[in-house]
Amino acid sequence: MVKISRKATIAVYSLILFLLAIYWFPLLWIFLTSIRTRQETLAYPPVWMFKPTMESYIYVLTESPFLLALLNSILVAGVSTIIVMGMAIPAGYALARFKFPGRDDIGFYIISTKMAPPIVVLFAFYLLFFKLGLLRTHAGLIILHIALNLSLATWLLKGFFEKTPKEIEEAAKVDGCSDLKVLQKITLPLTYPGILVTMILCLMFSWMEFIFASTITDPITRTVPVFIYSWLSFSQIYWERVAVAGILYMLPMLIFALVIRNDLVKGMSFGLVK
């Protein structure tokens, strides 16, 4: 890092706080909307002094199927992320460490599939799932989210594995570790910031994914973003419900990010910086 004087430090901190205030204004607005009544939300000029109400929270949590949608989201994001990591760790490791014919071509091919916009495959998947009976199921959406994240996860993990020093692994092999043991005992602990970052990215992309979920799910299997979208109708938008659901939906991710914040700041370099 660049060292700066005491005076400059104070200036930098105030600048950061100022920018943060701008960034947080819409978040403040979501929060205020969630504890206002409809009339107060739509009032002009905006009402700043009002009696907070928990009505929208109570409505969303008890009367609307929000919790069902939340369970769907947890199931889909959780299962798809576990499967993605389970496939991407060995794949990334093999691409980073083993020598086999066409290795670089395969690595290149894997990441190049990320260039295809989701909509290109969506229609094909729709027809395929129709034949297989996977439309409107969790399994169908999980498969799509795996397809969405797997290539990026493999590619990111390959970068992290390439960065770990080969010598340590070789030393372990001399001591009689198998490839799998080396991966488990040496490489994974050494690269865990990278693995956490890859994992939170997969979780996040699945958590927020909208276009696949809105196309293939029904009111029973839909995830929260699709459910939130159902509050937007031709005649009106239920602003306060949207706000409540958004806040509740954001919290788990936020807590996760706070817990791993230091690894997040380390791991996001994707192993690309020497």
């Binding site: 700066i4 819409p26 260039m115 295809a116 996040m204 938008i237 997040l264």
Partner: protein
């Protein structure tokens, strides 16, 4: 059969207007996200206390589902919304934001930049953190000031990461769907119709699958072309 669907595209005026909209949208999102992301990352790299926590504070917008982010901005963009109230306070004329032909794309850009510049910031911050301390000390001995450090050390160091964030953001911005759905639905008229949104509407709303498919192949060709170009730059020479 054959290339009829592609021929129809060439004669489709909405296709050409949405191509223009897409280029403008993708270009300005990429530019502002990287500009703001870089500034915030640089500022955060200058401090030592609370760096991780402050970084996460900036990342909060990214944790919102884009559809909620879009709707909350739509609420603020209302003609009688809070943003116009701010404009009134500083004595500027109110805007119609997402309801106006000229302002709808800038409004969507603002929302997208608000939500995703923290992503770029995280990548760049991780990159700046990884620069070895000795290099800065060496520059100091040679009399290099703050500007020299940014220009000749930090920026060159960040180039591989800038290419990666450029690549990822390019693909995600090109395929923006929920923010446009929430804010404008492609309207007013076709003023915020991007290629991607247009192709979705064709395939899944109007069920003109052939034309939608042709359009999505055009999108594929564009993202693939740019993607390969950028990928070649970051992969090592031996790798392709």
């Amino acid at each position: 059969m054959g290339f009829k669907n592609y021929a129809n595209l060439i004669n489709d005026s909405i296709f050409w207007s949405s191509l223009k909209v897409t280029l403008f949208f993708v270009g300005s999102c990429l530019f502002f996200e990287h500009l703001i992301g870089f500034i915030v990352a640089l500022l955060l790299s200058l401090i030592t206390k609370f760096r991780g926590s402050l970084a996460v504070c900036f990342v909060v917008p990214m944790m919102l589902p884009p559809i909620t982010a879009a709707l909350i901005w739509k609420l603020m963009y209302r003609p009688t919304g809070v943003l116009n109230w701010f404009l009134q306070i500083v004595a500027l004329p109110p805007l119609t934001w997402v309801l106006s032909y000229t302002w709808v794309i800038p409004s969507i850009v603002i929302t997208d930049v608000w939500q995703w510049s923290p992503f770029v910031m995280l990548i760049l911050l991780a990159g700046i953190n990884a620069i070895p301390q000795e290099i800065f000390e060496a520059t100091e001995i040679d009399g290099g000031g703050f500007y020299a450090k940014v220009r000749y050390i930090i920026l060159p160091f960040l180039i591989p990461l800038l290419i990666v964030s450029f690549l990822l953001r390019f693909i995600f911005i090109f395929t923006t769907f929920d923010i446009i759905t929430g804010l404008s639905g492609g309207g007013p008229g076709h003023a915020s119709m991007t290629l991607y949104f247009y192709s979705y509407l064709k395939s899944f709303q109007w069920l003109r699958v052939g034309e939608g498919g042709a359009l999505s192949m055009v999108i594929f060709a564009m993202t693939f072309g740019v993607g390969i170009l950028l990928l070649r730059k970051i992969l090592k020479p031996g790798e392709k």
